[in-house]
Amino acid sequence: MEYLFYILSGFTILSAILMISARNPVHSVLYLIVTFFLISGQYLMMNAQFLFIVNLIVYAGAIMVLFLFVLMLLNLNRETEPQKSMKAKLAGVISAGLLLITLLGALIQGQTYRGSLHITDVGLVKNLGMALFTKFVVPFEVSSILFLSAMVGAILVGMRKKEDKEVVSE
């Protein structure tokens, strides 16, 4: 079963790289959906069943459909895609590579976790529900208020002002 992790990881990294390098933003969204599906596979391997299904429904389903919807609403495609100069792209890739080297270097220097993970049942819906509604019930309620404010904020930001409407109707 261990080899499955490496296969999934390889495809995850590949699709993530394809996502940032795709010229067409719609292709970027599709590659990101593939990445999320593969990450969901990792959750399933760790027996985190709740996160597996939530990742599929919320990330790959709702959020990515929202992205795709906005992209198609604005009619963005390969022709309208703004491009950075080759020099700026190279600088960006080198900076990110340096960050990766720093992170991995810190990991090699620090405490290591060589023992393999063991499958547990903490990720089952029952156990997570018990933790969520006893120990974490206050943050859970606060997050619902956050959601409400985000919804109101999105509508408020997206609304046209009155004078704009008049200009359009003229």
């Binding site: 990792q42 604005l74 950075k84 590579g97 993970l117 547990t120 156990n127 959601f147």
Partner: protein, 104 residues
């Protein structure tokens, strides 16, 4: 255990690589929507690491935290996309390099 998972270290490597790909995406793209997607990729890398540590310590708190990260990400995307649509309405483009008014 015959069906043991790989060591935690490998999960940390995978998450670091995914996070850095997200950072590279933010640095090399100019489309605002793709930038938001790269931020989502970085959040997902962190979520994966949270889940791996939660499995390692056999503690549900890490996976609850992933749940909250997803809540915040959904709220962030809703507001961020609304702002981007407004930017598009005003500038007729999602190119973030046009938003340099603070520079002048």
């Amino acid at each position: 255990m015959s069906n043991a998972l790989p060591p935690l270290e490998h999960y940390i490597w995978l998450s670091s690589i995914l996070f850095c790909i997200g950072v590279a995406g933010v640095l090399i793209r100019r489309n605002g929507i793709v930038l938001l997607m790269c931020v989502e990729l970085m959040l997902n890398a962190v979520n994966l690491l949270f889940t791996a540590f939660s499995t390692h310590f056999q503690d549900a708190s890490g996976q609850i935290f992933v749940f909250f990260v997803m809540v915040v990400a959904a709220a962030e995307v809703a507001v961020g996309l609304a702002i981007l649509v407004m930017i598009y309405r005003n500038t007729k483009s999602v190119d973030i390099s046009l938003l340099d008014n603070l520079k002048h």
